[in-house]
């Protein structure tokens, strides 16, 4: 477990751009998000669904609160978005292993991602497609990741990537067209 002062130190390191601190912070965020997600997913019966972006928001409030400048806050969101993606993919893999088969699924691009463990395939397909997209253009894949898993606004994404909002919108619309085509083929 982390000592109480630890997180402050890591956040400071993260703000300075310290690689090691960032990595440890990512681990921390990951662990925290996973606990939150697990709690959501173990609650009640099967067929859970929740909005991952809410969890990310929650985690950030808990871990960092208002200690960040706006710029670093956006960066931190991006970090959390990546963690969230990893967690959901892991969970979907497990679910899939349990479910087996399941046949062809209707794939729907849902702007307000509500993660439901009843459709693990959908998420795994998206994850795979995003990984392929990253080979050609990492930034586009990251835009989708931040929007979809982190619930970030165009403005926040622009700040994180150091580009204009128009650019973010362009990247997004291209990425979505590309992903859709991937899904169809």
């Amino acid at each position: 477990m982390t000592a109480p002062g630890d997180i402050t130190r890591l956040l400071a390191g993260f703000e300075r751009g310290d690689r090691q601190a960032t990595e440890r912070l990512a681990n921390l965020v990951y662990a925290h998000l996973r606990r939150l997600a697990a709690a959501k997913l173990q609650n009640e019966r099967t067929g859970h669904s929740f909005q991952p972006t809410m969890l990310v928001n929650d985690a950030i409030l808990k871990l960092a609160g208002k200690r960040f400048s706006i710029k670093n806050r956006a960066h931190f969101f991006a970090l959390a978005a990546r963690c969230m993606r990893q967690i959901l993919v892991d969970h979907a893999r497990q679910r899939n292993a349990v479910k087996r088969g399941g046949g062809a699924e209707m794939i729907v691009w849902d702007e307000n991602l509500e993660y439901s463990d009843e459709k693990p395939n959908q998420l795994l397909l998206l994850d795979g497609a995003l990984t392929r997209l990253a080979i050609f253009d990492e930034q586009k894949a990251r835009v989708v990741e931040m929007k979809y898993f982190g619930g970030m606004t165009n403005e926040e994404i622009a700040r994180t990537l150091g580009v204009g909002i128009t650019k973010v919108k362009e990247q997004y619309s291209f990425a979505i067209a590309w992903l859709r085509r991937e899904f169809e083929s």
């Binding site: 729907v108 619309s173 979505i176 590309w178 859709r180 085509r181």
Partner: protein
């Protein structure tokens, strides 16, 4: 595809997507020249871009991007219930918006019927703030609604992070309320009111969109469909809709309250709690209220009541209340110019000065301020003054400084008592205008006068109620869970369905057997039977309020308990009730 190609495709795609279909092909021929592979890639992506946000495109045939004489131009938005496209009416040569079912629903008869019904309901409404329906197409591909095309933004995109300017928010609010009022008057509920369904055109006109979940008023569709799925948008639903009932105009009053709140503050009022508006503890965030004008705040509180019966009973009344404050309230500087407005603002100044003098430091000062404020409430007709007093008195009642010596001082008690008096006056005996049902939880209330009030649904959980009067009050469905009730006057109070779980009774006065029978009997229990049990209570059950008190106070409580555990209180009644069940008392 190679990374270099990818770059090229990206650039061409971004330029081409903004062009019309004909110009696109000219542009593509020019830039792609002989490179057919790139051209094909771009065309595929453009087709995806144009189709829909669904991964399965709506016009899967690819060839025809036309419905009847409408040429589909671009995808404008959409969700689970339908997609909206911008299209060109090739006969009348104008743009229209076309709503279509998402592909995975297009062939469902039920979904088609719903879309048809949506068109019918929306077409039945003729209001400048409701989107106009031109026609409905029933094609082989599905059902389509053709509507007026609007250029602008939805409120979802328009509201800045810290909210709109008050004037603007109120202006939009009025238009929305008016449109809903009109719809309700025609017997139609929108059913899915939220910022993304409210459009503001470039010339600042408000339009209600998406009657996809609209229902005839008081029809019997529940908010859950047969499969148990929830219709509508969770975050903008009223609690009773989450519970499964809908079709009540008061649910829409609630959704409207959420939208209005968001316009003023930029935030959903329940966002901090993951938008779980169904949770049992019910209170609006207090900190954000600074951004909301006082007069609007009391309207908002009434919209966002948990219990439908405490909200505005209809859109009409809400609409009237909004119009009322627009006419009478200085919403922001520059809107007041008339003589009466100046007069009101001087009254407001007076009220604010007196409010400032009512405090917990000096009772004498509070008493004078109290008289002044009471006078103002009697003479002033201004709703703003009323709201200013009501809101401050509520805060005075709810936020008492930590007692230093462990005892709430007489000055504090008395000041609070006066504050309650003013709150009654300001709210015209309807405390719900200012108080949330949960507000009185955990409070230590001495000598307060709640008599002849309608408190239905209030919670006094773990409150310390001493020498307080509920004489003749309507306490139906109230809760006194874990409360201390000492010398409390319940004469003629309506106690039907009241929850007294774990409440400790010492001389509840004026209770009749008849009253007691209407209480939720299973929640009644005898007083703690032994001193040991009482001490346990003080150590565990009351950790929030009493547990933190000094030993001296604890001893006082124990002494009081011992004194009153004489056969005066509730215990005898309860014993009687339980002892002779066959013999009604």
């Amino acid at each position: 595809m190679t990374p270099e190609n990818f770059q090229k495709i990206d650039t061409i795609f971004n330029r081409a997507k903004k062009l019309s279909v004909r110009k696109r092909s000219i542009y593509l021929s020019r830039v792609c020249r002989a490179d057919l592979r790139i051209r094909r890639e771009v065309e595929e992506l453009l087709a995806q871009h144009d189709r829909s946000t669904a991964f399965l495109g709506i016009f899967t045939s690819g060839a025809s991007q036309k419905v009847s004489h409408y040429a589909i131009r671009e995808h404008l938005g959409g969700g689970g219930m339908g997609f909206v496209f911008k299209a060109e009416d090739t006969r009348l040569d104008r743009f229209v918006a076309i709503k279509a079912l998402p592909p995975w629903r297009a062939q469902l008869q039920e979904a088609r019927d719903r879309l048809l019904q949506e068109a019918k309901l929306a077409a039945a409404l003729n209001h400048p703030s409701i989107v106009t329906v031109y026609e409905v197409l029933q094609e082989e591909m599905g059902v389509f609604i053709v509507m007026e095309y609007l250029a602008g933004q939805t409120l979802r995109d328009l509201i800045p992070p810290r909210g709109l300017q008050a004037q603007q928010a109120l202006g939009y609010g009025l238009h929305i309320a008016d449109a809903l009022d009109c719809a309700h008057a025609d017997g139609i509920l929108h059913g899915d009111l939220k910022p993304s369904n409210i459009f503001v055109t470039e010339d600042r006109r408000v339009k209600l969109l998406d009657f996809g979940l609209a229902v005839p008023l008081y029809s019997d569709r529940a908010s859950h469909d047969a499969a148990g799925g929830l219709w509508g948008t969770r975050a903008y639903m009223a609690p009773e809709q989450l519970g499964g009932t809908s079709n009540d105009p008061r649910s829409e009053v609630f959704s409207f309250g959420l939208v209005l709140w968001e316009m003023f503050t930029g935030k959903h009022p329940f966002a901090a709690r993951i938008r779980n508006v169904s949770e049992s503890s019910w209170s609006l965030p207090k900190r954000r209220l600074a951004r909301i004008p006082l007069a609007v705040e009391s309207i908002l509180r009434r919209c966002l009541e948990r219990e439908p019966q405490r909200r505005f009973p209809s859109m009409r009344e809400l609409n009237a209340a909004l119009k009322d404050i627009c006419g009478s309230t200085p919403i922001s500087e520059g809107t007041i110019s008339t003589e009466s407005a100046r007069h009101r603002s001087s009254e407001l100044q007076k009220a604010k000065a007196a409010i400032g003098r009512m405090n917990y430091e000096s009772f004498a000062q509070s008493r004078r301020a109290f008289e002044e404020l009471g006078q103002l409430l009697k003479t002033s007709g201004s709703e703003t003054v009323r709201a200013a007093i009501g809101n401050s008195m509520r805060d005075l009642i709810l936020y008492v400084p930590e007692p230093k010596s462990g005892i709430v001082s007489p000055a504090v008690r008395e000041t609070r008592r006066l504050a309650l008096e003013l709150l009654r006056l300001a709210s015209r005996d309807n405390l719900l205008v200012y108080l949330q049902p949960d507000d009185l939880k955990y409070l230590d209330l001495w000598n307060m006068d709640f008599s002849r009030l309608k408190l239905t649904g209030f919670r006094f959980d773990r409150s310390f109620l001493i020498e307080t009067s509920f004489e003749g009050s309507d306490l139906t469905h109230d809760a006194f869970t874990g409360a201390w009730i000492r010398n409390v006057n319940f004469t003629n109070a309506d106690l039907a369905e009241v929850d007294f779980t774990d409440a400790d009774w010492f001389n509840a006065l004026g209770l009749t057997k008849k009253q007691l029978r209407s209480v939720r009997l299973e929640t009644l229990m005898p007083c703690p039977a032994t001193e040991v049990r009482l001490r346990e209570y003080l150590d565990n059950a009351y950790d929030v309020s009493i547990g933190a008190w000094s030993d001296r106070v604890r001893e006082q409580i124990i002494a009081a308990w011992t004194e009153y555990l004489q056969p005066h209180g509730l215990r005898d009644f309860v014993n009687l009730l339980h002892g002779h069940p066959e013999n009604p008392v």
